[in-house]
Amino acid sequence: MLFKVIAKEELKRLFELLASSHTVVGPVKTGRDRTGLPLYAFDEVERFEDLSLDYAMTKIPAKRFFLPYREDMAVFEMRKDDWNKKVDYNMDRPRIFFGMHPCDINALNRLDKVLMGETYPMPYYIAKRQNTVIIGIDCTPRPYCFCRSMAADTALHGFDMFLTDIGERYFAEILSDTAFNFLRLIKTAEPAGEDHVLYKKAAAARNERFVTQVDTTDLMKILDMEFQSDVWKQWGDKCLSCGTCSNVCPTCYCYSVEATVDLKLTTARKTKMLYSCNLIDFAEVAGAHNFRPERHIRLKYRYYHKHRGFVEAYEESLCVGCGRCGESCLAGITVPEVIASVRSTL
């Protein structure tokens, strides 16, 4: 692995060089909540000053830059006796993602397994994923982060470069020739012994800040045992079936498709829209039969996909433990509490 150290003002210079010729996306401050805490979002950034590299967590994940909430899959132009189908992967130029936390990088890595896998590759996703350069950055864990329990606290791949703040400088881990060539634009240095010490200190300090844990021991088996448990009903009674958990989840990828015809009757579109398994008609089929009309059943299946089905297929959970769903859920349903209740022997 290739390491470099970068002075902080040099990172600013790198950003400015990249932003002058590329679309750069990164964390920005969007306001404050009712308790005065800053709110963050990923957005296009033109000035380094607008970037909040020390951001806590964005409410909405980086997902929409890879899986937009709404996206045309095909546009049909209809003529008198003929029609023409146009497909666009909706990625007109490469993008640089400046400042992504390990949980979000791991979320993309897990999405890759499904959407870039051999069975059903999704070109709309692949086009965006392969044309995005990712510069990762370390984070300060918040109280509701449980990424460690989901083995997503460290990103091992799926990015081009990863930065760790070691005080005066950034410690950079380089994974691609793209990132290596970027760094040739600015002044960097080889890490010295003291940089290694500072890095290890920063990593240890970060580790101490993880407070929430989810016990995943035998979780697949326990979920199988507790399929009929009453706890699902209790959580289901609270669930608003509003789909917020899926919309803020960095790995929920289910979608619905709608076909629309314009007023002129000359253009039609097939549009994909990210959906949620908690929505009432998620399992509704032709003839209006609904396989999952009850809230608690829908909620349960979301947990079974994340923590059981995906684990069986890919040997890791689809949940990365970012905590966004629990934080955004107006009914206060959180992953650590749901799993603890299922594990409970009471």
């Binding site: 969007t30 306001g31 909540d33 009712r34 709110l39 979002a41 409410k59 909405i60 929409r64 909430y69 709404r70 209809m78 008198k80 006796d81 029609w83 009674d237 609270k238 669930c239 608003l240 079936s241 509003c242 789909g243 917020t244 919309n247 803020v248 629309t260 015809v261 314009d262 007023l263 002129k264 009757l265 829209m273 990210l274 949620s276 929505l279 009432i280 008609d281 009309p293 809230r295 955004s328 107006l330 009914a331 206060g332």
Partner: protein, 268 residues
């Protein structure tokens, strides 16, 4: 009636005769129809408008589809609505007043209706009774929700009628569209919002402008009202404020009536 020479995938399409009608309302939903100039000509090419008091002078009793705005509050309105129903093949309730009674039905919430009439109209001889949505009086084939309706949604409905495509509305609540628009949740800002229980389709119009939802489109399918009440209470929003929102457009009357009854039982 066929739309002269117009086809969809080679198949001739119909150009239905359409009438717009208004009852007790602000007529703002109809105004939405003439508001969007960029698509107005395309809309007019798709349908033949034969009756539209707000936008044209002529009128005709020969129409296939009647778009009806407003609620019913007077005996003569009942007669007029029944006449429209008898002529139209399809009757569409346009907007919250037609679907649920709308803001007008707030009047029904007062126990003493003669007092309301006296306070609002003084001695003027205005004949007005309890406010009713259209479906209380006639069979309604289709409802287009919203206060006001979204023109895009009406256009979609009309397009689907013309080409014979199914008309469907979102069954999920506004939160779904609000999150997709990346809005900051109004509860994070300490405000109230009915987004978690109100039917989507508006594109989270109000929350996108940092105004909490008042439920003008009525409830989503199987809304969790018990949890909605609980989460508002947990955030210090009083039952009176919850009722204010639930009662505003009439779509949630089943739930607001129950909540009011529950409250009066607790504090008689």
């Amino acid at each position: 009636m066929l739309n002269s020479g117009r086809t969809y995938l080679g198949v001739p399409v119909s150009r239905p005769k359409v009438g717009f009608f208004d009852f007790s309302s602000c007529e703002g939903c109809q105004l939405q129809m003439v508001n969007n100039e960029s698509t107005l000509l395309d809309f007019l090419a798709l349908v033949q408008i034969v009756n539209f008091r707000e936008a044209m002078t002529g009128e005709s009793d020969d129409y296939d589809i009647a778009f009806v705005e407003g609620s019913i509050t007077r005996p003569d309105e009942v007669d007029r609505l029944q006449a429209i129903r008898s002529r139209a093949k399809v009757l569409v309730a346009l907007g919250s007043c037609a679907c649920f009674g709308g803001v007008n039905q707030l009047k029904n919430r007062f126990r003493d209706l003669p007092w309301v009439k006296e306070t609002v109209y003084g001695g003027a001889a205005v004949e007005t009774d309890v406010v009713r949505p259209l479906h209380d009086v006639v069979t309604v084939d289709l409802m287009i929700y919203g206060c006001p309706v979204r023109k895009e949604e009406v256009e979609k409905v009309v397009t689907n009628i013309a080409i014979g495509k199914e008309i469907a509305y979102p069954k999920y609540p506004v939160c779904m569209e609000c999150k997709a628009n990346e809005n900051i949740c109004l509860f994070d800002l300490g405000e109230a919002c009915l987004g978690p229980v109100t039917r989507a389709g508006c594109g989270a119009w109000c929350p996108g402008s940092r105004a909490g939802c008042w439920g003008c489109r009525g409830p989503a399918d199987d809304p969790n009202m018990e949890q909605m009440k609980r989460l508002m209470q947990e955030r210090g929003i009083s039952e009176e404020m919850i009722l204010d929102r639930l009662e505003c457009f009439g779509g949630f009357c089943e739930f607001s009536d129950a909540l009011r009854a529950e409250m009066s039982k607790e504090n008689p």
